[in-house]
Symmetry: C2
Subunit: 354 residues, 2 copies
C-alpha cells in the first residue's frame, strides 16, 4: 500500500528576509507503507501535529552561514523537519507498534507521511483516546514540549526570579513567552510583557495573568516604555527577540539582573553584519548582569523535573496555554511567517487533516 | 604645622574623548597636620602610591550620564580620588597610629596629603621596612590589589577554565590582563593575549608566559587574528576592552564558553549612542555562552581566599607582575592617558616623591 503525501522542501536558500513561496515549496510524493519497504529500526509515521518555531527560519539561510544559532542548514530539495507528533503506521522497531503516538524533537518531516529512524523519537505519548482527563496532544508541543521547557529553563534555571522580582518577557504571548510569564507569576513576580498587537496585550493580561504589557508597534520608543512599566527596574529579562529591545532593556536592568537568552526572533531574517548592534553592553559590567544563552538540548537531564512541575500546574489549572491551531500542511509557510509578522496568537501548531 | 600639597581636581567635564589638561588640573593647597584640625575618626594621610585604573575615566563624564558603569561622578572642582597607599601622619582613630601604612580602595585623593575618614581605609598593610622578604608596596596595587582581585574573579569564579582550555585575554599586558593570563597558565590553559604594541607582545610571551599574543594595532582584522590564534575556538574570554574585539570573539567561542566582563576600555571615551554595537549576540544562544559582568565590591567575601592564593604564588615566584612606576603626582594625567593610548607597560602606578 502506498499513500499520497504532501511535503514541504527547500527550493532555494533564503539568506535574509522572511521566507516565501520561492524558498519553500509543497510537493506531493507517494510513500510506501508496505512493511518490507521500511528499513529495520525505522518507523512509518503519519503526522498529526507540527510545531511552528522561530528557530527553524535559521535553517534556510544556506551553507557556510554564521547565523549564530548554528542549527544544521537544510539542503536544497530536502524536506524540512521540525518538532511534531505522529502516529506509527508501520514499525520495524520492537519498542513501537502500530497506533503508538510519538513525539519527535526536531527531525519530523513537514510531510503527511514519512519514514524515520526510531532513534529520532523522543518519547512515546500515553494518550488514551477515551479518557476525558487525558492531556490534549497540542499541550505536548507547548507547555510540556520545547517552548514550555525553554520557558521553564529561563525562569527556574537561569533567571531565578524571587517573589516580588520585576520580570520582563519579550514575545510575551508567543510559545515560550506565554509560559515563561505564567511561571514567573506563579513565583509571585511582577510580570510585564511586550508583544505585537493590542489583541495580544489583552490576551496576556486577561488570560495569562500578566500584570501589564505593551504593544511594541505602538510604543516604539522602547526606552520610554520600559521607564513607564518598570519604575523599579528589571530583575529578570527573558529575551526572545534580541536587537533593539535587548539594548533598551540593558539601560533598565537592576544590579545582578539575569538575562536568559532563548532566541532573538528580530534578528533571524537579517544577515549578521546588518543586525542591530547592541551598544550598551557596558551595563553588564556596571550592573553586574549575567546574560546567558541556552538550547534545551543541554538540559534534558532536567526534563523529568520540568514535566513533573508542568503536569501539576496543568492539572491544577494554574497554566493556561493559548494555541493557534492552523489546519492542514498547506498552512505551514503562512504559519511560519505569522511568527515574524507577529500576526500569530499564541503557540502556532499545524493540525493535519488526517 | 601645615604642608604644601598638590592635588588633581576636575576643572571641566569630559563627556567624551580622552581627558586632557582642560578637564583635569593640578593645584597647590596647604593642608594642616595639627591634630586639633583633624576631625575625630579621621586620618591625615601622606600619599605614597596611587593606582591608575581605566574605570576612573568614567567618573569625569558629568552628571546624569548613563555610561553603563555608574560610578559616582566627580563634581566640578572636586579632588579626584582612586585606589592608593598612604602613610598615616596624624590619627584621630585609635585603630591607627602615626606611621601606619594603609590601603584605600577608591577614595584616596590624588593629592600629596589629605584628610580622610578612617572608614575609607580598606586595610592596614604590615610592611616592615627592614625585612627583605616583605612584599613590596606596589604589589598591593597589582597582584594583591584590585586588578589582581578582578583577574582572580575572572578566572577562578566566573571563567573557570580547565586544564587545556583555550583562554583569550584582551588588554593582556595591563593591570588585570597580565594577572588573569598568568592565573590561567597556572591552571594549565593555552593562553593568548591581545595588546597594543609589539614590545608588550614580547613582554606577555617572555615574562608572563603567554603561549602567544598579538598586537591589535598590527592585526587589525580581529576575525582573521582569532582564526589564526584559536584554531580550536575560545573557551574563556576575559574581556577588558569590549566593542569590536568582543564582537570578533563571539564568532570564535566554543560551546558553553564563559565571558567574564571586567571592563570595556575601548568604550569609556565614547558617549554610549556612539559606542560600537555588538551585532552577533545570537552566538550567545547558539553556543550557549554565559557572559557576566562584575565589580570586585560584590566579591569581598572571597578576598581572603584570593589573598591566600596570590601570596603563595608570589612567594613561589609563580606570578610575575610588571609595574610601570611613574614618579610624582604631576604625572597623573599622562599616566591615565597612557592606558587609553596603550602606551603603558604593565600596571601603572604613581610613586610619590615623599
Amino acid at each position: 500500500m502506498t499513500v499520497e503525501s504532501r511535503e514541504w522542501y527547500l527550493a532555494s536558500y533564503a539568506p535574509q528576509g522572511v521566507p516565501n513561496s520561492e524558498h519553500l515549496k509543497l510537493r506531493t510524493v507517494r510513500v510506501s507503507l508496505e512493511p518490507h519497504s521500511i528499513p529495520d529500526g525505522h518507523l512509518a509515521i503519519q503526522t498529526l501535529l507540527l510545531s511552528i518555531d522561530p528557530y527553524i527560519r535559521t535553517r534556510f539561510t544556506g551553507p557556510n552561514n554564521l547565523d549564530g544559532l548554528y542549527f544544521p542548514q537544510f539542503h536544497l530539495n530536502q524536506v524540512i523537519t521540525g518538532v511534531g507528533i505522529g502516529r506509527v503506521k508501520v514499525s520495524k522497531d520492537s519498542k513501537y507498534k502500530e497506533g503508538d503516538i510519538v513525539l519527535v524533537f526536531g527531525d519530523l518531516p513537514f510531510a503527511d507521511y514519512s519514514v524515520i529512524s526510531s532513534t529520532k523519537v523522543s518519547t512515546k505519548i500515553d494518550h488514551p483516546t477515551h479518557d476525558d482527563d487525558a492531556i490534549p496532544l497540542p499541550i505536548y508541543l507547548s507547555c510540556l514540549g520545547c517552548p514550555g521547557f525553554a520557558a521553564w529553563i529561563s525562569i527556574e534555571v537561569i533567571g531565578k526570579p524571587k517573589e516580588g522580582s520585576n520580570v520582563f518577557i519579550s514575545a510575551a504571548s508567543g510559545g515560550v513567552g506565554m509560559i515563561a510569564g505564567q511561571l514567573a507569576k506563579l513565583k509571585g513576580c511582577r510580570v510585564i510583557g511586550s508583544t505585537g498587537s493590542d489583541e495580544k496585550v489583552k490576551l496576556m493580561k486577561e488570560e495569562f495573568g500578566y500584570d501589564d504589557g505593551f504593544n511594541y508597534n505602538k510604543e516604539a520608543d522602547f526606552d520610554a516604555a520600559l521607564t513607564k512599566y518598570f519604575p523599579d527596574g528589571i530583575d529578570v529579562y527573558v529575551d526572545n527577540v534580541g536587537g533593539k529591545m535587548l539594548e533598551a532593556v540593558l539601560d533598565h536592568v537592576n544590579k545582578h539582573a539575569r538575562i536568559p537568552l532563548c532566541g532573538m526572533i528580530s534578528q533571524y531574517d537579517k544577515v549578521w553584519t546588518e543586525r542591530d548592534g547592541v551598544r550598551n553592553l557596558l551595563n553588564l559590567v556596571g550592573k553586574e548582569v549575567r546574560m546567558e544563552g541556552f538550547l534545551i538540548g543541554s538540559y534534558f537531564n532536567l526534563f523529568d523535573d520540568f514535566a513533573k512541575d508542568m503536569k501539576e500546574y496543568i492539572k491544577e489549572g494554574k497554566l493556561k496555554p493559548k494555541h493557534q491551531i492552523n489546519i492542514g500542511i498547506e498552512t505551514a509557510l503562512d504559519s511560519l511567517n505569522s511568527l515574524f509578522t507577529s500576526s500569530n496568537n499564541g503557540k502556532v501548531i499545524i493540525q493535519f487533516n488526517a
